[in-house]
Symmetry: C2
Subunit: 432 residues, 2 copies
């Protein structure tokens, strides 16, 4: 250190890095990961239902019997065994594809990262739902995309509004590169894009030459029905499909995938090789062996019932303790989206919530335009039902206190609150 | 497909993607991965020396006993157990650091990718050795860096030439962001930057405010001596150190790391979270357990002797069969750098070599400026000694044929040759 400034490389960062700053809520999430806090913030799947002895035997076999491939460098596109299994998984969303069409990635997050890398120049417009996945907004920001939110209703993105936004942006001289959607059990909105809406969106995007990016990690986690056919099945050359084993198997392996049109897929593979040489051969071998030898469909059924019970616990507790909040009642996935009564500021309230030992993600995290101030995302994926109910009770107490404060201090600005501090240890997970 | 053009998204790619094109030698490398071909091209480490039963038991335990962490999402910076072990490994190159200083990544390639992302705007200059690691050139190209080669001698980068290049580039109005070096057993040159040269380079870079990126995957693989102190140890705030377990343990796990100054490290973590959320928790747990419970230093000693024997086989065969080639005699690592007699064009010769069942990487792959046309990189890391000798015999035959052709067709341009074709399956490995 020179002693005259804290960061010797302050002037050396790229323009895109200037947008990479730690959020204020980050430190709070570190506190939220303490065991005494009920976290309704994170997107961590439960691992309770995993057949651990079976998984342990699979990983042992992968190292003992397949070391020459599983512990070695592999293909930048991903190993053929994993791609063959992924082709089989894709049939569950009505997609018929070939192993050649698949690119295996370090989680589906990296597929999105690589896709944005090969598509987006600074200032290019990418359209997203209102609200949209915080991790996608992070990737888009890191490539200096210009993010535009498109209105949604209970069936998904409004195709008329979508067309108007595309036309408007193009009239203003901007390049519109893609529409990013999470059509099943959306993160954070909890809604599923209906079949007819999928068709309408694909039609609009095909006509306007906008690539659809279909991020579908929750497809198999519908509580009451099987997945709808993927948008990719409606226009395989117009839609890039992103899939993940993080919600249905194990996020710690970091295995996701993209199914993309051939030329675009070749670009993704080249970008992947530049970024990581290849995804983990070992993780891919474990996933491929699990899919080939375990009854993974039965495991998914167990997950559906576990998450249905937790959804019921969350929604039931909200109806009981926060009856005037407006919430989605998701029929799958991990998340409920809540509009707070009295337009309560969920960002300002978060320190008080954490002090009361309950955590959530404020709605602003899911907006690139400052929206979502009176919303929050509540996740029901990780804590067991009784903890979820306790978390909502604590949250209701915080909301009651917030309203009381607001009546007392109306118009005097934010009220300071003491909040415990902690080191940042699991930041990624808490907004995933 | 519209039927009117092959790629519907042809006009939608980013500017950086236009530089991502499959090389002509790519298809040849697919052929080179066939068992009948002796590949002196790839950078795959041998896995023969790994204690496989021990590794199998470690991975089993990680899944059976540590599932809640090992199979779950983790920190974007990497898990604390892995970072603590990495701190211990760093002492082997004379670096004292704290787990807070370490960022675990999906192989050290991803550390480099993230570093370039937070540093380089299109057109920024990054300085590299002559020749330089092909994978680094790929990353730099994908972020549109302006790569400048700096002359090297037997002791590493020439500090006087380095200063002249920096001053010249800055006088021309360009921003010089970093010097990228592989100081131990360089890929592809095979040379090690001497201790006094390390000090001189760090001094120049400190004075000129150029960040040093020290990529050090081969540090522990010196045949005759322990590693030299890392450049990072000379100026911890001026050097980012990149490390890897791919050469000393197993590349299939994809675990590497960066040790970086605090502010830069924070940027790297934010970039990592955007790109992949977090590195594989499972891979990190396996590496941390291996390092904590196995005699990994003894394993490294075995590797040194295995690679020393293979280096001897390669250099010996070259001296016997290609006595007029000029080559480095590396005292560690994976690679020998060969200057061909008569300025033979190694790129033009490659199809003939592959047809003769031997493969190498042409020198042009390691140059961003078209240089290296009469050079090749020969690797001795993967094939056993007798295969290496056979590969060199085949190569000598190809060279003899090439000289014969040249005498016959002098001045008539390249001579066509029939070469088998194959699908691209292990591209990343063959240039790693």
């Amino acid at each position: 250190m020179t002693g005259t400034r804290l960061d010797r490389w302050h002037g050396a960062y790229s323009r895109r890095a200037s947008g990479m700053t730690a959020s204020q809520i980050r430190a709070l999430f570190a506190v939220a990961s303490r065991p005494e806090v009920v976290s309704l913030a994170g997107g961590m799947p439960t691992l309770d239902a995993l057949p651990l002895p079976e998984v342990a035997e699979i990983v042992r076999r992968c190292a003992a019997d397949s070391a020459a491939e599983a512990l070695q460098y592999g293909s930048g596109q991903g190993d053929i065994l994993a791609r063959e299994q992924i082709v089989d998984v894709m049939t569950t969303v009505g997609v018929t594809c070939d192993p050649d069409d698949v690119v295996v990635t370090t989680g589906s997050q990296h597929a999105l990262d690589l896709l944005v890398r090969v598509l987006v120049d600074p200032g290019d417009v990418v359209l997203v739902e209102t609200p949209s996945y915080v991790g996608a907004l992070g990737v888009l920001r890191s490539y200096e995309a210009d993010v535009r939110h498109v209105p949604v209703d209970a069936e998904g993105v409004d195709p008329v509004a979508l067309e108007a936004v595309v036309v408007g942006e193009r009239a203003a001289g901007r390049r519109v590169k893609a529409l990013y959607v999470v059509p099943h059990h959306q993160n954070p909105g909890g809604t599923t894009t209906s079949a007819r809406r999928r068709a309408a969106l694909v039609e609009v995007c095909r006509r306007l030459e906008v690539l659809v990016v279909e991020d579908d990690p929750y497809a198999l986690l519908g509580f009451d029905h099987d997945p709808l056919p993927a948008m990719h099945s409606l226009d395989p050359d117009g839609v890039v499909y992103l899939g993940s084993f993080s919600k249905t198997f194990a996020p710690g392996l970091r295995v996701g995938w993209a199914v993309a049109p051939p030329a675009l897929r070749s670009k993704l593979v080249l970008a992947a090789e530049a970024a990581v040489l290849c995804p983990s051969s070992f993780s891919q071998r474990v996933v491929a062996t699990y899919l080939a030898t375990s009854d993974w469909r039965a495991h998914v059924k167990v997950l559906r019932s576990v998450y249905r019970e937790r959804r019921d616990a969350l929604v039931g507790a909200l109806e009981q303790h926060l009856p005037d909040a407006v919430l989605t009642r998701p029929d799958g996935g991990f998340f409920t989206w809540v509009a707070m009564p009295d337009d309560l500021d969920t960002t300002a309230m978060l320190p008080r919530a954490v002090a009361a030992r309950v955590a959530y993600v404020p709605g602003t995290a899911f907006h690139a335009d400052g929206g979502g101030g009176a919303h929050m995302r509540l996740s029901f994926c990780f804590p067991p039902p009784e903890r979820i109910a306790e978390g909502v009770r604590r949250l209701a107490g915080v909301v009651a206190g917030e309203r009381e404060l607001r009546r007392t201090f109306r118009g005097t600005g934010p009220v300071p609150v003491a909040v415990p501090t902690g080191d940042v240890d699991r930041p990624a997970t808490d907004t995933a």
